[in-house]
Amino acid sequence: MSTIVLQLFIAGRTPRTEHAIATLQVLIVERLAGYPCELVIVDVLTDPQQAEERQIFATPTLIKESPLPQRRIIGDLADADGLLTALGLPPARLPS
């Protein structure tokens, strides 16, 4: 099984950033348990070159790098519900 690679682009530690990170943690721990998962957090304030290369303009932006197809989600991700569908990921178990 290939590793799920997620990249989260943030612009400093803002409430939106914290909310997005918390949501992703819930997602990974509860919904993607058992799947090899990698989350990379890129702060565009310290690494603008990365943002340039990936053409990120809004923050937070989450990119699902693999498995393909690539997906982009702009925003603080609201809640974990429906996020897997949005990411096109197989859920660990059916959403409660």
């Binding site: 909310h19 997005a20 565009v44 303009f57 989600i73 702009i74 609201a78």
Partner: protein, 509 residues
């Protein structure tokens, strides 16, 4: 022409866009963001790109281009035609793109709240990387169309504008309008950029497109009011034609030069003034082209450089006719003393013609220039456009220390005046009228000097003849009146004598 008694407290950044710095009284307000708004196809992107290109080319000021619409690749390719080699400037570290163009292959979903922090970080990074003095954001419509939350985009753009001000860059923000006249831009852009607004228009008037530029406002600093025509030319981009910004401070010289015809010189009180513009008006066939030919040939014969813009006759016709009068245009041209530019009036828009003519004047630097005929250009333009063209051209010629001779064809054979004259008679220094005179079943020609600024001149209407030796001035028409109106009355010699005796003082010299 406006005089500002105080120095404006706000510094301007010269853009380097031809003509724009003139109408903006020195350029864009430095360190601020100017909104450039226009409908689709109004040359917003060209204007914005040129702002950066001219910065690099003329002032060695690097720039950052934030593109929301076209890809950098498309921009590099589209702008090469204007002589802007963006790819090279990128390699030299003078130009940076921030690419925010839509990526059709990447699927984008919005979930929850977000801001444009990443865009601001990228702009800040790019500005720092190239040391940018100028920034362009083109165009806002694309970002609003892409993201649903317009209120958030507006407040984020306001944040970006504020950040750019702190960076000390001078910026242009382009935005779409849906109509030529009405609200400044869509999506309420004027909410966050209210200080400086420039509008580009491309309306249809009398079935002709006519581009204009208007500085709607510059907060706290001066600019020329109203709209000015501009044109977009391959190889140079936007060229604004600053008409009412023209200042009437041409030098005027007392130096006289010959018209090439001793009789006409005498009628004008000793020849034309240098730095003056002479209008020769007449019906078709009265000898206007001959007058222009003689005027130029006499200059060339003295070793001056002379320039002819011909809009009515072909080169072959002109040269053949000149030979007929005994002037060898071929030889003048071969020796570099003469340049003849034949052009159909329809070949280019009037704005483009003006640019072409200015370029010729600047590169050839003639001492004499003739336009045959000015009225031929009337038909390719609107009335307003033509008037602006004539004013622009006349003022340019007067700045070049040349004598200009324009011919104008009157629509009627007898009497009459043309629109050309109505527009330009006040700005020309001299007016010579050539008219047909019907005299007892014969068509004769009459000439008078209507106006000769700063000099005495012959006020009589004299007959003239054209033969193989050129133009010869004869006697005055003593027995005809009403020549200029075309409503002739013939007076018998005895009546003239009687009238003469009524006014003993008027000796009729």
């Amino acid at each position: 022409m406006t005089v500002f008694p105080m120095t404006p407290p706000i510094e301007k950044l010269p853009t380097g866009i031809p003509g724009f710095d003139h109408i903006s009284n020195g350029g864009l307000p430095r360190g601020r963001t100017t909104l450039v708004s226009g409908t689709a196809g109004s040359a917003k992107t060209v204007f914005a790109t040129q702002f950066l290109a001219a910065g690099i080319q003329q002032f060695d000021e690097p720039g950052v281009f934030i593109t929301f619409e076209e890809t950098p690749e498309a921009l590099r390719r589209n702008m090469v035609g204007f002589g802007w080699d963006i790819a090279t400037w990128e390699a030299q570290g003078k130009w940076a793109f921030v690419d925010v163009s839509p990526q059709p292959e990447a699927e984008e979903i919005v979930r929850g709240e977000y801001d444009l922090g990443a865009l601001l970080a990228r702009i800040t990074y790019a500005v720092g990387r190239v040391g940018a003095a100028r920034v362009v954001l083109d165009s806002l419509g694309a970002i609003f169309a892409r993201m649903e939350n317009s209120q958030m985009i507006r407040s984020e753009l306001l944040r970006i504008v504020a950040a750019m001000r702190r960076m000390g860059v001078t910026a242009i923000l382009t935005a779409e309008r849906t109509q030529e006249y009405g609200e400044i831009g869509r999506y309420g852009v004027e909410e966050f950029v209210t200080d400086d607004v420039v509008i580009l228009r491309n309306p249809i008037e009398e079935e002709k497109r006519r581009r204009t530029i208007e500085i709607l406002k510059f907060r706290g600093t001066s600019h020329q009011k109203g709209s000015f025509p501009f044109t977009v030319i391959p190889g140079s981009g936007v060229v604004v034609i600053p008409l009412s910004a023209i200042e009437l401070k041409q030098r005027s010289s007392n130096l006289r030069i010959s018209s090439g015809n001793d009789d006409i010189d005498r009628m004008c009180g000793g020849g034309f003034f240098r730095d003056s513009v002479i209008l020769v008006s007449g019906a078709t066939g009265t000898g206007k082209t001959l007058m222009a030919t003689t005027f130029l040939a006499s200059g060339a014969a003295q070793g001056e450089r002379v320039l002819l813009f011909a809009f009515e006759e072909s080169r072959d016709q002109l040269f053949r006719n000149a030979t007929g009068w005994g002037f060898d245009f071929e030889e003048y041209e071969a020796s570099g003393r003469m340049r003849v530019i034949c052009n159909y009036p329809e070949a280019a828009s009037l704005e483009d013609q003006l640019i072409i003519m200015k370029n010729e004047l600047e590169t050839f630097r003639p001492q004499r220039v003739a336009i045959d005929s000015l009225s031929a250009l009337e038909r390719v333009s609107t009335m307003k456009g033509f008037r602006e063209f004539v004013i622009g051209l006349t003022s340019f010629i007067k700045h070049q220390e040349v004598v200009g001779l324009f011919t104008s064809t009157t629509p009627m054979l007898l009497g009459g005046s043309s629109i050309t004259e109505a527009h330009i008679s006040t700005i020309t220094d001299s007016i010579i009228l050539m008219r047909y005179v019907e005299l007892f079943g014969e068509m004769r020609r009459g000439m008078t000097v209507l106006k000769m600024r700063g000099s005495a001149h012959d006020k009589e209407i004299r007959e003239f003849m054209i033969d193989g030796g050129g133009l010869h001035i004869g006697k005055t028409f003593r027995t005809v009146s009403g020549i200029l109106s075309g409503q002739f009355t013939h007076t018998t010699p005895s009546e003239i004598e009687r009238l003469g005796n009524l006014f003993k003082d008027d000796t009729g010299v």
